[in-house]
Structures are given as structure tokens and as C-alpha cells.
Symmetry: none
Subunit: 241 residues, 2 copies
Amino acid sequence: MTAPAFILVRPQLGMNIGMAARAMGNFALDQLRLVEPRDGWPNPEAGPPAAGADHVLEAVTVHDSVAAALADCHLTFATTVRPRDMPKPVVTPREAAAMMREAAAKGLKSGILFGPERSGLTADDLAPVATIVTCPVNPGHGSLNLAQAVLLLGYEWFQAAAPAPAPAPEHAPAPHGEVAGLIAHLDQALDAAGYYHVPDRTPATRRTLARLLTRPNFTQEEVRTLRGIIRALAEARKRRA
Amino acid sequence: MTAPAFILVRPQLGMNIGMAARAMGNFALDQLRLVEPRDGWPNPEAGPPAAGADHVLEAVTVHDSVAAALADCHLTFATTVRPRDMPKPVVTPREAAAMMREAAAKGLKSGILFGPERSGLTADDLAPVATIVTCPVNPGHGSLNLAQAVLLLGYEWFQAAAPAPAPAPEHAPAPHGEVAGLIAHLDQALDAAGYYHVPDRTPATRRTLARLLTRPNFTQEEVRTLRGIIRALAEARKRRA
């Protein structure tokens, strides 16, 4: 498995480098590269927001050009909001993740450029890159910030091969006989409480109750709890009677 | 289209409220609700990180309980890393987004709880919620922060294309407020009947009941029928007392 490199081009704030490292750690990525970081490297302001992703910060490499940072990458991507007037394919983060996974399975390495906080990537930065990644966002509400863009690319990379989500917890429905016992128990308690006061409607009411108690597919434990509730309400009544 | 409400439960830092607002604005969401924000509301620290999502901050509503914040929501979700030992379905952000889109197309509203920065949601917060949302992350590298979790849910909501409108569901779940009313009604009747006879266990028992009545996604009609049943059992008791 050849994991992608995330490349921050001329990043300004150490805080954002740290947040990028944290997001990468969350999604099992550890190759963070910096091209000409404004405040040099290492930058102590990156530590706290990295929140435990120290291994990502320690492995950071610094490069003096985009070309150097991309040198070992077979697939090259650049994140930008507005694709400039250039004939390159534009994909979503999800599509980029699928392309990177497919490449990784063949031992091919991907690199993704992320631009500086304010100005974004220049036409010169974009020129040598094969594919533009643009995240669909609310058209009225501009751009993602640097850490958000890193998070979404990392997230899509990880989800593209994520194991199936944890199976839903045991929801084995109770055997039908136990549900029938619950229905009979409630029926008896309601009868004693005078619930069926319109004889003509009793059969329809009983069907309604049977449906209501059947539809949720209660577990055995839930059936036991419900019978305890009926017992508590009915026996309190008897005690006071 | 009924957009979901994002509900920050006991958020600590104004900065995170602002970052959540920004992420929501990026993905065309504008219903941000706060439950008991630590530093009150409005909080001037939320402004700068919202970065132009002023309309989201201005529309914020503050609620004094999770139940109040969820009252008008038909589908209820809670984001948490480690689903506690409770029989609830667990879905990914992508699956949750698909469920919310499908519900929205039917006019049903969704609400998602996000826990406080350090501690996360409590068992009491989770008990009345139908579905847990857990984002698959690197197992060795813990959790997403609050703003990251909001970003990913907003992102998945925006990416999920709205499905074609479907006919009204046969089993539209009741708004959460009606389910909460049912839970409170049963609780009161059981208390009067002496059901909570072991005080130490009462909080756990109450959570069990809240889960039991939440999981089936009862319809409004079912909620009415269940309240009639409780009333019948409890009032017959009173009449004879």
C-alpha cells in the first residue's frame, strides 16, 4: 500500500500545519510535506493543534519547490476552488480518493497540493499537476480553509477502503410466542382496567394493539421490560383496590 | 426540503461554535442549535472563526435541554466515537446523510447531536436518540474534534444528492417532542405505581425505558395509543384507590 503525500505549498500559519497533521493522523496518513513554509520548520505553533499526531509532525519533510515535493509521485493532484482556465480534468475529493486508492494498489504514489491560506495555488503551481480536485460547496459561501480541505481529502482516502462499519448491535427479535405473551398480558390488564368500554370497537382495538406491539420487533429483553411495566401498573392498581 | 438541525450540546469554546457555523455555511446548512453553551450566547469569540457565516450565527437558537433542542425532529442522531453498550443502530456519516436526505424529501426533519469538546455526549444524552453516527477513523489515533465532526456531517449532507420525492411514508415517526412526552407520561405513572423501588438503579432504569420507547420510531398515532394505554392503567388505579 503506497499512501499519498499531502503537500502544503507556502503555508503561513503553524496552527494550520498542526491541524493538517491531526487530520492526517485521524485517517492513517503520515506523509506531510511542506514547500517553503513562511515561518520555517520546525514551527512550535504546530504542536498543540496537532493533538497527538506527533509522529506526523516528526516525519515532515521540507522542499524548496513544488517540483521537488512531487518528485516521487506518480499521480499528481492540486486542490483549488476555482479551476483556472486550463485544460485539466477536475474531480471531487471522492473521485480523487478512488483514483489514489487504485493507484496505491498498484504501488503507485499520489501527491496532493494544498495552497497557501489566503492566496491559494498559483498558475505556476498548477501547471505541472495532472488533476484538479475541487470540493462541491455552497456556491454562495466560498471556500474551505486549509485544514478543512486536508480533512476532507484524508477522510475520503480513509473511507475509500474503510472496513464495513461496525455491525448494528444485536437486535434479535424475541420469538413470536413471547410477543404473543406480551400482547395477552397487556390485553388482560387493559380489560381489568376498563379500557375496552365500547364493545363494538373491541376487536379493532385489539388488532391495533397487536400491530403496535409486533411492528417494533422487540427483543426478548425489551419484552421482559414491557411486561414488568404492565405488572407494575396493574399490581399497584390491585394493591390499592 | 427540510434541512437538518445541528445541535451542539454543552459546547465549551466560542471558537468551535464559530468553526461549526463556517462549516455549515460551506454546505448550505443554517440551523445551528446550542444546548447550555458554557459561556452563554451570544459569544463574541464565535464571530471571527465563522468567517462570513454570520447568517448561521444570527439564526442560532439556545435550548435548556437536549429534549427541547430535538423536539421538532423526526429523525434523531448523535455523533459519538465509542458507541456505549446500547442497542442502537450505528451508521457512518455517509449513511446518516442518505437517511437525512431521504427523510427531508418526505418533509421529515433530522437533528444531530454533537457532544462537548472534552467529554462527549453522556449516556443520558444518547438514550433518547434513535441512531448513532460514528466516523471510521484510524483506530490508533482517536477522535475527531467538534468542528471536524460538524464539517464531515455537513459535507456528506451536501454531497448526498436529494433523491426523487417519495410518497409519504406509512410509518412517519412522531416528532421527538411527542416521544419525549410519552416517556415522561410513562415515567410519572410508573413512579406513582412504585416501579422505581431500588433508588440506585432508577437512572439506569429510566435510560432503559427511554431507549425502549425511542427505538421503534413510533408514529404519532402509535404514541397516542400508548398514552391511552398508560392513562387507562393509571386512571383505573386512581379510580379504585
